[in-house]
């Protein structure tokens, strides 16, 4: 766990610098010892900073209700917290590999997503989880990417601003929302706080943040549907930014949203054709509609334009 190791090395280096400053000229052997120690630490830190960890690992450290000093942690809580975190990673990888997950049923798995407990962290009680594979590639493994994305998702859910969570919900698989709910419910029910450390991030969620995340996630429902009969006038499409605007034929409402990657790429071919008029035309489109329902707020729809099926007169 590179980040934790670096943290410890840097703390050690500060201690050694202080020792060197305190050890006077009257102790030449002490000076030699601490200078050598400092040199060793500098070398270890430099080597570790240059190391790219391509395999997934994450430290989950808990404090609060389920933790007893730094001695022990409720077995029941620990089991639930680790299981729900594993669920999030598994579903993230599956969503990445298979697209939108079914509403229920077994989560498909191509890439193994299992994390193993490598080490226990004392101080505050915690676990270092690591994937079992040995990765000699330079590229990050799917598990490493999934851990990073899950950590971002957890932080966004607990963020002080609503905007961060709203942005996260727009792309969150509905089954991941369920696991996120389970994760925060487990923490909040036990009055736990958590610090999550992984390669790119080090986030601490206190009890208040955990409660905030739980309430937000519990108050949010997401339902995805697809239709290939959404009719409207295409007002504009930005292929680089992958954004569109359309005036719906039936209601006159102007909707805006994202453009699927495949359509964005095809757009460049379409606009190359001479006399091809696309904007300002009436289209039958294929659209994914995500309905987000949040307590005490009107439901909102997010649109993803998947395809232009046929031009309409």
């Amino acid at each position: 766990m590179k980040r934790l190791e670096l943290e410890a090395l840097m703390a050690d280096r500060e201690a050694v610098r202080a020792m060197l400053a305190a050890v006077g000229e009257a102790d030449p052997i002490g000076q030699l010892s601490f200078r050598a120690r400092l040199s060793s630490l500098d070398e270890k830190i430099q080597r570790l900073e240059g190391l790219h960890e391509a395999t997934g690992s994450v430290a989950l450290m808990f404090a609060g209700g389920p933790v007893f000093g730094s001695r022990s942690i409720s077995a029941d809580f620990a089991t639930t917290a680790l299981r729900t975190f594993q669920d999030l990673v598994t579903k993230r990888i599956a969503a990445e590999e298979f697209g939108r997950l079914g509403a229920r049923g077994r989560v498909p798995e191509r890439t193994p997503s299992t994390l193993a407990i490598r080490e226990l962290v004392r101080g505050s009680v915690g676990f270092v989880l690591e994937e079992n594979s040995q990765n000699s590639e330079i590229a990050d493994t799917p598990i490493k990417k999934a851990i990073d994305e899950v950590t971002v998702m957890i932080s966004q859910a607990a963020a002080e601003s609503d905007e961060a969570f709203e942005a996260s919900v727009e792309t969150l698989d509905p089954r991941m929302l369920i696991s996120l709910r389970d994760f925060f419910r487990a923490l909040d029910d036990s009055q736990a706080s958590v610090r999550i450390v992984e390669a790119e991030r080090d986030d601490s969620l206190n009890g208040e943040a955990v409660r905030r995340a739980r309430l937000r996630v519990e108050a949010t429902e997401v339902e995805d549907s697809e239709s290939d009969s959404v009719f409207g006038e295409l007002l504009g499409l930005l292929p680089e930014a992958r954004k569109f605007e359309m005036k719906l034929l039936d209601s006159g409402e102007v909707i805006r949203g994202t453009v699927a990657a495949a359509l964005a790429n095809r757009w460049f071919e379409l606009i190359e054709k001479p006399d091809e008029k696309l904007i300002g035309q009436l289209w039958r489109t294929k659209m994914r509609i995500r309905e987000i329902r949040e307590r005490n707020r009107p439901p909102r729809n997010l649109y993803t334009l998947l395809g232009l099926v046929e031009r309409r007169k």
Binding site: L4, G30, S39
Partner: protein, 188 residues
């Protein structure tokens, strides 16, 4: 006495039912022969121990014979099982009283300078397979306590997990010859 490694692959911080009994607390007093028998379990480890014995002999030759050494680091853990590798060296902290002929500050400074190869961890690592550090008991007590606290904090815990682990203590004068005989017999 060298206790067996615990489930974490480290020397336990104490043996017995609780850490209250000083007789069961780390650092554990041992001898060079016992160290060789308990932890000289491979050719690599035997080579490190031979280096350690050579360092000790060099210190004795300089008159540094009053004190003891802590042994720690991956040599004192089941690093073969934990990380699938042999230890690279042995971590040693030597607590000593200056030889009678070198107690004068100016003489001591010259003595250290002249024998820096034995007191500089970078050089002892290369020459003796020992990451060797020293605490001079002739320096003022507050400085000694601070240094002992640092080294115990470092070697008494695993860095990232903060696991509490045990250390071994060997007097500067011990049964090194017996230890060498054991190593020569088992790992010629």
């Amino acid at each position: 006495m060298i206790p067996a490694f615990n489930l974490s692959g480290a020397l336990p911080p104490y043996v017995g039912p609780s850490p209250v009994d000083p007789a069961g607390l780390s650092p554990y007093d041992t001898s060079m022969k016992e160290l060789a028998e308990a932890l000289g379990t491979s050719a690599d480890r035997a080579a490190i121990l031979r280096g350690f014995i050579a360092l000790r002999q060099s210190l004795l030759a300089l008159g540094i014979d009053n004190g003891y050494q802590w042994c720690a680091g991956s040599f004192c853990e089941d690093v073969e099982a934990l990380e699938g590798r042999s230890p690279g060296d042995i971590d040693v902290v030597t607590f000593f009283v200056r030889p009678p002929h070198a107690t004068d500050q100016a003489v001591w400074a010259g003595f250290v300078s002249a024998n820096a190869a034995l007191f500089d961890a970078i050089q002892t690592k290369a020459a003796f397979r020992c990451d060797a550090y020293f605490v001079d008991a002739n320096t003022p007590l507050p400085s000694v306590i601070t240094q002992v606290t640092y080294w115990h904090g470092l070697f008494g815990h695993r860095r990232s997990s903060q696991l509490w682990k045990g250390i071994l203590r060997v007097p500067l004068i011990s049964d090194d010859a017996e230890a060498l005989k054991h190593l020569d017999r088992v790992w010629p």
